[in-house]
Subunit: 397 residues, 2 copies
């Protein structure tokens, strides 16, 4: 083997040449152990990744669980690993008896079964959902050990349902209609007020996720989906739409999900999630097995439209390179970025920053603190860095 | 309520106005029954759809199970419902000990761990996989009761992995290399010969499916993926790539997966899956709840590139209307089509036909029989119709 070939060979960690291939190739195969076909499949028992949960010890059904972004590939979040944020548990709803009621400032109040909703013209659209609190721990200096705990209140799915505008047209809005108050069937009747412009733009009533019925934790059998807006407003277990002239000023849009200013005042109804990104591989708790070629990969997204570019720095922010974006790049959907890198074995930090089609550039943490003060944890989208040590281990910077 | 409004109201099956909304709205909510957060979620217990399995009673691990297309939405097939076709069971492979060996007509034979493969630059691409036998029952007149049994050997996923060309470049192909023989680690060592042009074009070594690791039934931890080609050639549980000057003429590319001609001769290496489509809703075993607006929806695909149009007939083939295609329409990926229809309550047949970007139009069953004879069941892609009876029930035409 020439020296060049040998370097190439070692670069990918290949340990054996042909001579010993036959010894090494066979995986352990035990045809007697082959499972019979399963009606509904499951993952390999060797796969252990899970959502990172944080449940309240005081109230049943209050808490969150985060998508393990560091273990995932591509752009789709497996439904089993979609993040959760519940305010009063997951109601066990029978779709046969579930109804969506549409009333208020409409000419014809309507009540729909799930089957009624499925007769409407439908659309399928990939979109992310991000909790307004995602990344907020980074602002206040919590050193999240991994991408799940730093940015895992973000997931991305292919959603299918009816445009809310189609259903509102069936009921005929009255001229005074300015807000749609969406209420869930969970125990706390979680409610949010949606401006009529969003309701008539791209809002969806969603009954399917990644090809099959919604999962219980994402609102089965029906949820609101507001592409690009903070997740809390995409009301789950949707059972009521009340069309009104004024917002409800509900608990979840006044006591929470508001942007605190240094003055002590807060902005309400700040729905849009701004451009953000996070490197998921390599990221916290992972280890690069040695110097050589490594792919840096992560997710970028913007609530304002498409990601136009992602830049990656592998030298602690001194220089930036343009990452490749996986096609198709879709509006208000997570985009996978990638950069082929050659790690020289020296300690460094790796960072990513996203620019969206409006020209908006993801800010640094310092810029966010300068603009909003140190306590405004909702809608945090600062540039995230991971530290790589000489032994290849990756940790929060 | 005016007469026009009343018609609109009834058209969507809405049964109640506002006065009784409060009685009807609440779903049964029992917060005490709310599950604690699950590390890896599952579907609602009300959801029962499953793969339609057919296993050999004589040989362990031989058989197929079909995707229940009639119950699905959008374009992604949930991994738990991806079709299966096994020739010797599902090997339970430990990814830590699995190796891919690349040898034959290359300058540097290589052996890769899964971690080695993940260090290469990767890509994520949505593609369908279709078994060459999909739809063949339609040719020979089996009246499949539902879309699973007529067309369910088709699934569509977001796949992530390394381009095969990248890995071949690391080993450096010799000038005499014309075929890559891919072998699986299942008990029968299923093997297929891949022309080098496809290997260097869009072939992938895939380790992830719909965001997470491949499922065992789809080749965990590594499979070949040949976009647009018959599924059997996308070898699962991939452990060996042998680069050669001639094909292997393996069992699965000579005794099976060949196209029989009326003369008794057969074509081998006919890999490409031609344009096809199937209406999945309404389809066999479903029932339209009554006259009025109904969405006709289904899937279309082509192994040659993008779907350019889908036409739907709701009058037994007398006239055709252009269906809407869900964006983005991707090459060698399933495309969802939709047509808003108003069912008048009369018996009829509904059909779909796909044209791909090469201008190829999906043929009728009669055209296929005229061209290939009545026994050539592989690569069947005839236009599929469903019969709607006066009571709204749908069956195979």
């Amino acid at each position: 083997m020439t020296s060049r070939k040998r370097r190439q060979f070692l670069a990918f960690g290949a340990t054996l040449g042909l001579a010993s291939c036959n010894k090494e190739t066979p995986a352990k195969v035990d045809s007697a152990a082959a499972p019979t076909m399963r009606p509904y499949g499951d993952r390999s028992p060797f796969e252990k990744t899970k959502r990172a949960a944080r449940e309240s010890t005081k109230s049943i059904g209050v808490g969150s669980s985060r998508t393990p972004l560091q273990d995932l590939y591509g752009t789709i979040t497996p439904s089993a690993l979609h993040f959760e944020r519940h305010h009063a548990g997951v109601p066990p709803i029978d779709p046969a008896t579930h109804r969506l009621v549409l009333h208020g400032l409409v000419d014809t109040p309507l009540s729909f079964t799930m089957e009624d909703l499925r007769r409407f013209p439908s659309v399928t659209r990939p979109h992310f959902i991000e909790c307004a609190g995602n990344g907020g721990g980074e602002l206040v200096g919590n050193a999240a050990p991994d991408a799940a705990r730093s940015h895992g209140l973000l997931s991305n799915s292919e959603w299918t349902g009816v445009k809310l505008s189609t259903v509102l047209a069936a009921a005929k809005l009255q001229p005074t209609a300015k807000w749609v108050i969406a209420e869930g069937a969970d125990a706390c009747r979680m409610a949010r007020s949606i401006p009529i412009a969003k309701a008539l733009d791209d809002a969806l009533l969603v009954y399917a996720q990644n090809g099959e019925a919604l999962r219980p934790e994402q609102g089965y059998p029906l949820r609101l989906l507001l592409p690009g807006w903070e997740g809390n407003a995409s009301v789950k277990w949707l059972h009521r739409l009340h069309v009104a002239a004024e917002p409800a000023l509900s608990y979840e849009e006044t006591a929470h999900y508001t942007d605190l200013h240094p003055t002590g005042k807060a902005t309400i109804f700040s729905f849009e999630m701004e451009a953000s990104s996070v490197i998921t591989r390599p990221s916290g708790t992972q280890k690069i097995s040695g110097p050589g070629p490594v792919e840096i990969s992560g997710l970028a997204w913007s609530g304002r439209g498409k990601v136009s570019k992602v830049e990656v720095s592998a030298d602690s922010g001194k220089s930036w390179q343009l990452a490749t974006l996986d096609e198709p790049v879709l509006s208000k959907a997570a985009t996978r970025f990638r950069l082929a890198w050659n790690w020289d074995g020296q300690p460094t930090s790796i960072l990513s920053r996203c620019t969206d089609e409006t020209g908006y550039l993801q800010p640094t943490r310092d810029e966010i603190i300068a603009a909003r003060g140190p306590n405004s944890t909702y809608h945090y989208n600062g540039v995230k860095s991971w530290l790589i040590a000489a032994d290849g281990s990756v940790s929060n910077a």
